[in-house]
C-alpha cells in the first residue's frame, strides 16, 4: 500500500490558545489509517483542547503550526466540512437538543453529508436498516432512538449514543474525548465493544483518556503522554500500564 495514502493525520508544531492563555505549545502527532492512538495526561495538559481544535471549535485560536488531514489543510475547513470529510468527535459532555429526535438528527446529519458529496438523500428503508444494525452494536433501545437528542439520557446512555452516532456516520478519524468518564464497567464494555467493532484498516481513532482502564478494552497501538501542551513521551500500550503504576510525576520531572 502507498505510504502517502496511509497517512491520515499529521499535526505539526501546533500552538493553540483560549483568550490569552496558550494551551497547546507545539504539539506533534501523526496518525495512520488502521491505528489507535491513546492520548493520556494530567488535568489541564491540553487533551480536550486538542480534540476541540481538531474538530474546529471556534473559541480555540490556532496561533502556529499546521494540521494536514488526508492531504487537506484541516484548519481551513469549517466544523461541518471536517465532519463531512470523516472526522468525528465523541463529546465528553454530549449536548441535549430538546424536541429534535435522535433519529431525525442523524438523518439530517447524514443527508447534509450526502448533499455535500452531491448525492441523493439516503432512502428511508436503507436508513432504518442502518439504524437497527448500528444501534444493536451499543445496545441502544428503540425508546432512546426516538427521544430528543440526549434529553433525559443517563450518563452511560449519552456515551452509548455518541458511539451509535459514530457508527451511523462511519467516520475515517474518530476522536473519543474522555468517553470513559462517568461510565460504569458495563457501559464501558459496551462502548468499547462498539469502538472495536467499528475499527478497520481504513479508519483510525484517537482515544483521549485519563485512566488506563479504558485501554484494557480498546487496545491502542500508541500511547502518547500530553503534558503542558506538548507530547512528551510516546510508547506502546505498555506505557499506559507504566503510567497507571507510577503516575505522571516521573515524566513531568524529566521535562521540567
Amino acid at each position: 500500500m502507498d505510504k502517502e495514502i496511509k497517512k491520515m493525520l499529521e499535526v505539526k508544531n501546533l500552538h493553540a490558545s483560549v483568550g490569552d492563555k496558550e494551551i497547546l505549545k507545539g504539539l506533534n502527532l501523526e496518525v495512520k489509517a488502521g491505528e489507535v492512538h491513546a492520548i493520556m495526561g494530567p488535568n489541564g495538559s491540553g487533551k480536550s483542547t486538542l480534540s476541540a481544535v481538531l474538530a474546529g471549535r471556534e473559541e480555540y485560536e490556532v496561533t502556529e503550526g499546521e494540521v494536514s488531514y488526508l492531504g487537506k489543510e484541516l484548519l481551513e475547513l469549517n466544523p461541518e466540512e471536517r465532519s463531512w470529510e470523516g472526522i468525528f468527535l465523541a463529546f465528553q459532555y454530549p449536548v441535549e437538543i430538546p424536541g429534535v429526535s435522535n433519529i431525525n438528527f442523524l438523518k439530517t446529519a447524514i443527508n447534509e453529508r450526502q448533499k455535500y458529496f452531491g448525492k441523493d438523500p439516503v432512502a428511508a428503508k436503507e436508513f432504518l436498516k442502518m439504524v437497527k444494525e448500528k444501534s444493536a452494536l451499543v445496545e441502544l433501545s428503540d425508546k432512546l432512538k426516538n427521544r430528543s437528542v440526549n434529553v433525559g439520557f443517563s450518563g452511560g446512555e449519552k456515551k452509548r449514543n455518541e458511539i451509535f452516532q459514530m457508527a451511523m456516520l462511519e467516520p475515517k478519524l474518530s476522536i473519543l474525548d474522555e468517553t470513559d468518564s462517568g461510565l460504569d464497567i458495563d457501559a464501558l464494555r459496551i462502548v468499547a465493544h462498539g469502538v472495536n467493532t467499528l475499527k478497520s484498516k481504513d479508519n483510525a481513532s484517537i482515544v483521549i483518556t485519563h485512566y488506563q482502564r479504558l485501554l484494557d478494552y480498546i487496545v491502542p497501538d500508541f500511547v502518547h503522554v500530553l503534558y503542558d501542551g506538548r507530547i512528551i513521551k510516546t510508547g506502546g500500550k505498555e506505557l499506559a500500564l507504566e503510567l497507571e503504576e507510577k503516575g505522571y510525576d516521573w515524566l513531568t520531572k524529566e521535562n521540567a
Binding site: A55, G56, R57, E58, E59, N78, P79, E80, R82, S83, W84, F88, L89, F91, P94, V95, E96, I97, P98, G99, V100, N104, F105, L106, T108, A109, I110, E112, R113, Y116, S148, Q165, L169
Partner: protein
C-alpha cells in the same frame, strides 16, 4: 471558519422578507380619515341592513370615548387614523362564478404565495376563502360544504344571506365596548369570514382563509365570526402574508368563536405580516382581539405561529362558561430585528370542571422584544377547574428581550393551577454539536428552533405544520453564504 454568535447575529439581521411584493389592482376607495359619515358610507357601500348600521354607529360612539391602550410592552408611533382609508375593494367586474373571472393579477399573487386556487381546487380537503384587501374575491368548495349545511363565506355575504345568524351572534363574545381596537373594528370592519357548522356536523375539511393587506395606506379591519352549533366540529386555519411597504399599516381584526354545547373549534393561525425592514422601518401593526366562548362540554383550541408584524398585540382567549369546557392556547411567536410582540391569552374559568392549557414559546432575535402576557382567572363557581401554563423563551442574541407577564386570579379554592417557565439562549454548545455532526449553521438553527417549538407545531393541522416549520426557518435563517 467556525460559526460564531456574531455570525448568527449578522445572519439574522441580513434576512429579508420573502413575501414582499405588491399586486397592482385597480381599487375602489373612499376618502381618508374617520368620522360618522365614513361609517355610514362603508355600511351603505356594503348594502347593509339598518341594524348593522346602528351597530356600527354605536360602536363608533363608544370608540370616540376611548383612548388607545398603552399597557403592552411595545413602543410605536400611534397611527394617525385620519390618514387611513377605511375602505377599499378591488373593483369587481361582475359577480364571480369561476376562477377565470378573477383578476389575473390576483391569481398571480396567489401563485407567488404558493396557494393558487387552481391547485387548491384539485387538492381535496381545503376550501379557501381568499381575502384580497377587504373583499373576498374567490371562494371555493362552497357548494360541497353547502351540502352539509356548512356555511363558509365572506362576512359581507353572510350579512346578506344569513342576517339572522350574524345578528344573533355578532358582538356576543367581543362586545363593542371591549377595547379601543375592538370598538374601532366594530365601527369600520370591512370584511372577513363567516362560518357556521350545523348541529352534529363534523366539518370534513380544514377551512382556510388567506388574508392579505394590499392597498397602500389602507387599514384593514377584518371581522370573523365562527359558530359551531351543538355537537359539531370544525378546524379553521387563517394564514397571512403581506406585501413589503415603507409605511406602517394598521390591522385591527376581531375574531369571535362560539362553541355551543359539545362543540369543538380548532383555530390555527400562521401569521406573517410584513415585519418591517432590518432597521425597524415599516411593517404592519397588528392589534387583534380574538376570543371564543365555550358552552357546556365544548372545546376551543387556539394555535398560532406568529412571525410577522412590526407590532403585535394579540391575546386569543377562551371564556369557559359551560361546565366541563376546555380551552387551549398553543403559541410560537418569533420576533426579529426591531419587531415587538406582546401576545398571550386569557383563560376565564366560569363553569365547573373547566380545563385550560397554555403553551407559549417565544423566540427573540435581533433587537426585538417578545412578551408573553396571560391571565388565568378562576371564577367563584368554577369548582375543580384546572390550568396548566408553560411559558418558554428562547433568546438568539444578547440584544433582544423576552418578557413574561403571567397573571393569575383565583376565587375558588378547589382549583388547581400550574405554571412553568424557562428562558434559554440558543447554545454555542448546541450549535457546535450539530456542526460537528455535519449539520451546517442554518440547518442547525432551524433544527434547534423547530425542536423548541415542536410541541406547538404538532398542534397544527398536518398540511400546515410543514408550512409553519418553513416559515420559522425563513424568519430566522440568515443569508448564510
Amino acid at each position: 471558519m467556525a460559526y460564531s454568535e456574531d455570525d448568527l447575529k449578522q445572519d439574522l439581521e441580513d434576512q429579508e422578507y420573502e413575501f414582499g411584493f405588491t399586486t397592482d389592482v385597480d381599487s375602489e376607495k373612499i376618502p381618508k380619515g374617520l368620522n360618522e359619515e365614513i361609517v355610514r358610507i362603508i355600511s351603505a357601500k356594503k348594502n347593509e341592513p339598518e341594524w348593522l348600521l346602528e351597530y356600527r354607529l354605536n360602536a363608533f360612539k363608544v370608540w370616540q370615548g376611548m383612548v388607545e391602550p398603552d399597557w403592552a410592552h411595545v413602543t410605536y408611533e400611534k397611527p394617525n387614523l385620519q390618514e387611513i382609508i377605511f375602505y377599499s375593494a378591488p373593483k369587481p367586474k361582475k359577480e364571480l362564478a369561476s376562477l377565470d373571472e378573477v383578476d389575473p393579477e390576483i391569481l398571480k399573487t396567489m401563485d407567488r404565495l404558493g396557494i393558487s386556487l387552481d391547485e387548491q381546487k384539485k387538492l381535496t380537503g381545503v376550501a379557501v376563502d381568499f381575502v384580497m384587501d377587504s373583499v373576498s374575491v374567490a371562494t371555493s368548495f362552497k357548494e360541497k360544504l353547502g351540502e352539509l349545511g356548512v356555511i363558509f363565506c365572506s362576512f359581507s355575504e353572510a350579512v346578506q344571506e344569513h342576517p339572522e345568524l350574524v345578528k344573533k351572534y355578532l358582538g356576543t363574545v367581543v362586545p363593542t365596548t371591549d377595547n379601543y381596537y375592538a370598538a374601532l373594528n366594530s365601527a369600520v370592519f370591512s370584511d372577513g369570514s363567516f362560518c357556521y357548522i350545523p348541529k352534529g356536523t363534523k366539518c370534513p375539511m380544514e377551512l382556510s382563509t388567506y388574508f392579505r393587506i394590499n392597498e397602500s395606506g389602507t387599514g384593514q379591519f377584518e371581522r370573523t365570526l365562527l359558530v359551531a352549533d351543538e355537537g359539531s366540529y370544525v378546524s379553521y386555519l387563517e394564514g397571512c402574508t403581506a406585501p413589503q411597504r415603507d409605511e406602517n399599516q394598521l390591522h385591527a381584526a376581531v375574531v369571535e368563536l362560539i362553541a355551543l354545547d359539545d362543540a369543538e373549534i380548532k383555530y390555527s393561525t400562521v401569521q406573517n405580516w410584513y415585519p418591517g425592514d432590518k432597521d425597524g422601518v415599516g411593517g404592519v401593526f397588528n392589534f387583534v382581539t380574538k376570543r371564543g366562548i365555550c358552552e357546556r362540554n365544548a372545546k376551543i383550541s387556539w394555535t398560532q405561529v406568529e412571525t410577522g408584524s412590526a407590532i403585535t398585540w394579540k391575546y386569543p382567549s377562551c371564556i369557559l362558561k359551560g361546565d366541563n369546557s376546555v380551552g387551549e392556547f398553543y403559541s410560537v411567536a418569533v420576533t426579529n430585528n426591531y419587531q415587538m410582540a406582546d401576545t398571550g391569552t386569557k383563560m376565564l374559568h366560569i363553569g365547573k370542571n373547566t380545563k385550560s392549557t397554555i403553551i407559549s414559546k417565544g423566540i427573540s432575535a435581533g433587537h426585538s422584544h417578545n412578551s408573553y402576557r396571560g391571565l388565568v382567572k378562576i371564577g367563584k363557581g368554577a369548582d375543580n377547574s384546572r390550568n396548566f401554563s408553560q411559558c418558554d423563551s428562547l433568546l438568539m442574541t444578547d440584544r433582544c428581550g423576552a418578557h413574561t407577564y403571567p397573571y393569575v386570579e383565583c376565587e375558588n379554592p378547589t382549583a388547581q393551577l400550574e405554571h412553568e417557565a424557562t428562558t434559554s439562549k440558543i447554545g454555542e454548545d448546541q450549535m457546535f454539536y450539530c456542526m460537528q455532526r455535519g449539520i451546517g449553521e442554518e440547518k442547525a438553527i432551524s433544527l434547534i428552533v423547530n425542536g423548541y417549538a415542536k410541541e406547538v407545531l404538532n398542534k397544527l393541522p398536518m398540511e400546515f405544520a410543514v408550512e409553519a416549520q418553513k416559515l420559522l426557518e425563513i424568519s430566522l435563517e440568515g443569508s448564510v453564504g
